[in-house]
Amino acid sequence: MAASRDVDASFLALPLSALTDAALTRALDLGCEHADLRVERIRTQSISLRDARLESLADGEDLGLAVRVVHEGTWGFAAGVVLTAAEAVRLAEEAVAVAQVSAAVNSDRVELAPEPVYPDATWVSHYDVDPFEVPDAEKTGLLTELSEQLLAADGVEHVETVCQAVKEQKYYADTAGTRTRQQRVRIHPDLTALTVDRTTGAFESMRTIAPPAGRGWEYLTGTGWDWRAEIAEIPELLREKAKAPSVQAGRYDLVVDPSNLWLTIHESIGHATELDRALGYEAAYAGTSFATVDKLGTLRYGSEIMDVTGDRTAPHGLSTIGWDDEGVAGQQWDVIRNGVLVGYQVDRNTARMGGMARSNGCAFADSPQHTPVQRMANVSLQPAPDGPATDELIAGVERGIYVVGDKSWSIDMQRYNFQFTGQRFYRIEGGELAGQLRDVAYQATTTDFWGSMRVVGGPQTYQLGGAFNCGKGQPGQVAPVSHGCPVALFENVNVLNTSHEAGR
């Protein structure tokens, strides 16, 4: 089981100590206030099938090292792929050279918030079966079987299947004396069924709503999700969707399932409460945030029943770690309490800028080639301890729409205006589901939407959703992150008809 696992011996056998001594000694000799070394090995596999036939099996491994320094108050970063002491020395020198070129444009001294030293720390994520120890033939075999089950169903003309698996190994060492060794595994299978009406040219699809998870191959074989049960339901759901009436645009009460709500949380809360965004670090790219620092403790983000936490500790969470990429231990904290903004996600430099005594551990680099930036914790909406089940919640809605599964998403650069679609939309009439609807999108302003949240579901409805590919930073980096949430009811939300939006 997970608790007894160690980091793979083949990673620990890399010359980690020799690289550390070489890089950090050279950096200190060159007068750096701080230096850190990361050695990372990231194994990835992407298996794709088209109509139950293997289309591509790509197996990759990214192994490299990076040196980051603070030299006379300025960052310097250099990375390479040759794991020798000589290269570690060269990278320390290169990082200092980068800091020197950059000094011409730096007027903001880097100071890192203090963190206890962890001289010998190891952490391995919770998983049972390392996907990279399962033979490829066994993996493609199971994915083919699941795809064939879906493709064999009436009305399913095409099936697309993708399974991504990642094993991330990280070693971190800094001049304060912290040394961490970590290993985590994650997996994201999904299957999409497609139906095509040849005469009208109309086509419609439905994808599995199983979330990506911080689990191993066991996720495909019965732990954490019932794939066969979900795949058995999809053909009928797709048939119903293809025949469903187009939605009448207007205002509706929305019952939003966790399979859809996680993404709304991600975009409208997760990114909006990143302190580097609020400070303007992402202003030219990912954007800023309406939740500016002057509003901390006073901004009414949503209704009184809204409690949101950030954490890097949830079991199977995609953002869960032991220590972050600046040697800060994983933590949990409040982001929104009783509907009011009370916390941000930070790294060590922005913690100091935000007047915080300590970082909450949100530094992450997606590869040894990239410098760590503040990335998202598992930002999660807490359930109401005695909250309703989904059917109980629906029973209280006179006229509304029940939204299941995520699909299209888009939000503006200050995280105000968003638009989401989904996999399935059900009409609610008199407290009961009354068949699917097509062409639905919901569009709102963040604080209006969360302010309209009238009911939060109970713990029995709580689920972790998430994504592998959250983008941020230049050069672009992708980060995996999970979001837990219960089902919830939002009143009087603006619903668009996407067919009308397209001018049809």
């Binding site: 007027s107 670090y281 030219a284």
Partner: protein, 463 residues
């Protein structure tokens, strides 16, 4: 670990170690440098080098040819890499896209024996001080500058068991400069793509930003609705890139994208644009030079590992307003008796004879919106290729041929394929930097266009 071989030698070693029925091996030797800034000061930077080694083995198990890909960074054990890719191929089963490997060398491949090209942080030797001066100027005016500069060089060495030895050097560079008022309520953008930074003028970028910040002095609130809209080249490029990325012939032939024809088949031959616009790619386009052969590590509807080394000549996707070609790997081309085509890492949209600059188009506008860039573009409905997204960093109201002030941002819902049919004017084509997609795509040349009824679906309060 083997010793640090030259990339060409790594390719030769991999090919020599093959026990399979065919092999493609390539090494991408890359170097990059970047600077990032916010509020008139540096935020992050970097100088990185990497080497990626990719081996694709092809094995015929009797039922047909199968492929397996294994990629590693650094200096992997080549024999182990080859063995792993051969095992992957044996496990895979026959590939649907199997065709004989390419053996004819395409035109334009570079000098195989020469060392890889490289860049370093020194590429910013003139740029960084000029940027520092710009920060000083902005500080004096109470304004803030944000942005990013990156230069990368990637040299690819691709060898095949059929005798190809192809090399390509790809320089890529970009600069984005975002200017804001001190209270961050006004925000504008300028950006350029470049091969070597020699042609990047910080002063020109700052001038562009200054001009737009000036236009933003007056704020005008407008509601959602359909507006006559001038889209500058950057905004057009982001829409055309998505239009191109969804041009898979197989998806169209199977009835599952916007290029499918109701009743079966695809829409090639159908007029998409009212004006005789041409959308094309060309690896030898001056200033936008891109790899003239295919380098593919995994098969999809867009590309096939079997097509590695295939020449990618100039192709017109939309010709004189009519859909002319779709992206079609060789295997699908054989099945549909249509020509094989491949994407090129550049894109050009042009209207023959068009000479108008954006300023001239503004001067000829009675009342309309002038955009700067589009952002967070996502597909809402593949059937119509309906996209949603935001206007960003400068929506201006034009009245009587002049900019009257800055308007709030909007969320749009539009299909770029539908838009092509509604463009009433296109200006002269010029090099531009896509805003949304420049992490992946920096080589574009586009005209500004006029659309009489662009769908601004709702107001965004963001600035």
């Amino acid at each position: 670990m083997s010793s640090w071989d030259r990339p060409q030698d790594v390719v030769e070693k991999a090919l020599a170690a093959s026990t399979a029925d065919g092999q493609v091996a390539f090494v991408v030797e890359s170097s990059a440098a970047n600077l990032r800034w916010a509020s008139n000061s540096l935020t992050t930077n970097g100088s990185v080098r990497s080497r990626q080694v990719v081996v694709i083995s092809f094995v015929d198990g009797g039922a047909g040819m199968a492929a397996g890909t294994v990629a590693r960074t650094g200096s992997p054990d080549v024999a182990a890499l080859v063995a792993a890719s051969e095992q992957a191929a044996r496990d895979a089963g026959p590939a649907e896209d199997a065709v004989p490997l390419v053996s004819e060398a395409p035109p334009g491949a570079g000098d195989w024996d020469a060392d890889p090209a490289e860049t370093s942080i020194g590429v910013f030797r003139d740029f960084a001080p000029a940027l520092g001066e710009a920060f000083g100027g902005a500080r004096d005016r109470g304004e803030l500058l944000f942005g990013y500069a990156e230069h990368g060089m990637a040299t690819t060495y691709l060898g095949t068991s059929t005798g190809l030895r192809l090399r390509h050097d790809q320089p890529s560079g970009r600069v984005e400069l975002n200017g804001k008022s001190g209270d961050m309520s006004r925000s504008v953008w300028a950006g350029v793509g470049t091969r070597d930074f020699a042609d990047v003028s910080v002063a020109d970028l700052v001038g562009d930003v200054q001009r737009k910040l000036g236009w933003s002095q007056r704020r005008i609130d407008l509601p959602a609705g359909r507006y006559e809209t001038l889209l500058p080249p950057s905004a057009v490029s982001d829409l055309m890139i998505y239009t191109h990325w969804t041009m898979q012939a197989r998806d169209a032939d199977e009835g599952r994208n916007v290029y499918a024809r109701p009743g079966g088949g695809n829409r090639i031959g159908e007029r998409l644009a009212a004006l005789p616009l041409t959308l094309r790619s060309d690896p030898f386009e001056p200033g936008l030079e891109a790899c003239p052969f295919q380098v593919v590590s995994g098969s999809s509807a867009s590309a096939s590992v079997f097509d590695n080394g295939m020449g990618t000549p100039a192709v017109e996707w939309i010709s004189g307003g009519v859909l002319a070609n779709l992206i079609r790997p060789r295997a699908w081309a054989l099945r549909t008796t249509a020509p094989a085509t491949a994407t090129v890492d550049n894109l050009v949209l042009e209207l023959p004879g068009a000479t108008e600059s954006l300023d001239e188009m503004v001067a000829a506008t009675d009342r309309g919106l002038l955009l700067t860039t589009l952002w967070y573009i996502r597909e809402v409905d593949p059937q119509t290729l309906l996209l949603t997204g935001l206007t960003r960093d400068g929506v201006f109201l034009v009245e009587g041929g002049e900019v009257a002030g800055a308007v709030n941002n909007f969320r749009f819902n539009e299909s770029p394929v539908d838009l092509l049919g509604r463009i009433t004017q296109a200006g002269r084509t010029e090099r531009t930097l896509p805003r949304e997609w420049n992490d992946w795509f920096t080589r574009a040349a586009m005209p500004a266009v006029r659309v009489p009824d662009f769908n601004m679906s709702s107001v965004s309060p963001a600035s």
